[in-house]
Symmetry: C2
Subunit: 359 residues, 2 copies
């Protein structure tokens, strides 16, 4: 039984494509209660991009600070309840920002039409109805959230996505100009999310010709962006990074992430560490699992003089380490892909604690 996956409905790619957003939204402005709901990374408040958002007087533009924590079920529920009670049902939701903002836009689109708390829908195919029209405009590339069929949320008991075909964006606007001013360290951490997606996708059970073809090309682009003679933050590399992120995400359609993401979820859930950064912190010490990938990753770190702390675990309590290891252990689909169906014979919670102690 092969996965029957939903693709992004419409995509526009190219420098300056953000200027087309107004025309794109125009076609949907008569739907529902005739206003658009923009969810924008707080980073852009007061910046040039704010003035270019094609909002009309009836629209709601909400700036959200995603720095303190990754998107929570509580945030989604309260956004939904507030907008519904004050303004009604939007014509559409437009997310402008990084992976967290993409996830907020996708999740709130679904929750506008599905009753109760979003905690009820964390998992695969639990959502009951299609959401409203939703558009993703990435301003930082790498997570693949622009193409994935999941909206990852941290709830009171678990970090898990609202995963179904209706999660996928109706429209994505890929404008490489929007990622030009990303600070160096974050350009690296988020780009490495794509690199790690591909390494994990390739090294595991579920990899097939489809996921391999996408991962291979995405890795090639990552090498040009982060290692080659023309590496660095240039307009050409920004173009490539947007495509690499998309292709890394498409690779995961048929394959899976692995050990690094399992650890990263533990770091995010227990310590509140940001996803892409947590991936880098973990991947740096996973030579046993991904030897070639980790070697190349370290080269990239050196080349771009990236700050990546080590020795963090000495400040963690045993309880924190056990809690993180439990979060990781409870992601069987990742371990199954990376280690095999008999992974429980090979990897214990104690082993995973050992991995966390390396960080």
């Amino acid at each position: 039984m092969h996965k029957n996956f939903k693709g992004i409905e419409k995509t526009v790619f190219g420098r300056g494509a953000f200027a087309q957003l107004g025309d794109i939204l125009e076609e949907r402005r008569q739907d529902n209660d005739k206003f658009m709901f923009f969810v924008v990374d707080n980073y852009f408040k007061g910046k040039d991009l704010e003035k270019k958002i094609p909002a009309k007087p009836q629209d709601v533009v909400r700036f959200i600070d995603v720095d303190p924590e990754e998107p929570t079920t509580q945030l989604i529920d309260s956004l939904r309840d507030e907008i519904l009670s004050k303004k009604g049902l939007p014509s559409g939701v437009v997310g402008i920002g990084g992976g967290s903002i993409m996830d907020i836009a996708k999740a709130v689109s679904l929750m506008f039409t599905n009753e109760g708390s979003s905690t009820l829908y964390q998992g695969l195919n639990l959502v009951k109805k299609p959401g409203i029209y939703h558009v993703g405009v990435p301003t930082i590339s790498g997570t693949g959230a622009e193409v994935s069929m999941t909206a990852v949320l941290t709830g009171p008991t678990k970090k898990l996505g609202l995963k179904c075909e209706w999660t996928v964006f109706n429209q994505v606007v890929l404008d490489p100009d929007l990622i030009a001013s990303v600070p160096r360290n974050w350009w690296f951490y988020t780009g490495m999310d794509t690199y790690i997606h591909c390494i994990e996708s390739e090294n595991g059970l579920l990899n097939n010709a489809y996921s391999h073809s996408y991962a291979e090309q995405s890795l090639k682009l990552c090498r040009e962006i982060y290692l080659g003679p023309n590496s660095g933050q240039t307009p050409e590399n920004d173009d490539k990074l947007m495509v690499a992120s998309l292709m890394g995400g498409l690779s995961l359609t048929y394959s899976e992430v692995g050990v690094c993401h399992a650890l990263s979820y533990g770091l995010s859930k227990i310590l509140g560490m940001r996803h892409c950064y947590a991936n880098c912190i973990a991947f740096n010490h996973l030579h046993d699992y991904y030897a070639e990938g980790v070697t190349e990753f370290k080269e990239m770190i050196r080349k771009h003089k990236i700050d990546l702390p080590q020795g963090l675990s000495k400040d963690w309590t045993d309880e924190q380490i056990t809690a993180m290891a439990n979060v990781s252990y409870n992601l069987p689909h990742m371990w199954n892909h990376a280690v095999g169906p008999d992974w429980k014979d090979k990897v214990t919670v104690k082993d995973i604690e050992g991995l966390f102690r390396r960080l």
Copy 2:
């Protein structure tokens, strides 16, 4: 202004995926007049695949011989009129076959809801309403018709596609087992359609990071399938060819075909030559335009001992050659991409006649 393109809505990829078609169609069987319309390449009449088509008693299964000619506007109109008058509006159209069958399924889906002859809609965005649900199941890979937003038809005056976002399939089933028994020469000719798409996409004005990334990976797959140490018709290469065809098609989303396709359209329109074969006949002599690609193509021809006739033009009349050159010349988007905006200063109908005389 960047193209805002429509993607395939749902895709299932993997060996044996054809067995999932029945379940996929089940969800749509209550639509319209509650029957499915299957359009199947006549090649499969009496073959094993015929028994596996998930048709129900109320469905219409029509075998079509696409060998004598490429799909015509007349064929589409008469199929539509016949089905509507005898059975009503289908729940969906399912095309099972190669590029011609894909084009028939896409075109007839649109013509079920758009009045008058399909000749009225040949061109970009002339179609007025969305068509009915339509599914593509390729049984031969390379044309990219499974992913493209065009359904190429030969009309009384022109060979031109019904090109709009509603042309794109709602569902594609990519089962590499279905292409396993393709005869050697056709495995080559159709695969080369992808190879040529990528060479033309890469060598021209419109190529961008998106089209380049897809073309580069598709070319890499083509080299593995047709040139590398493991080249040939194997299950692994059939997997790759299905992905290469998809990626070659996606490369053209932002880029364009070039000189080879311009000549090929002339060969098909005037001589009725099949598209993929016509491409190979023309590409073999386009060293002036695509030197590296043509050299590699000739290596592939030799490696797989493919029959590719030369010296055909000695049997063509001057009138035929002029007519073909005129068809080619009247594809300005291809010449513009391949030669530049000043192509009319560089290429005359006489020059194109000269290219045809080489074949």
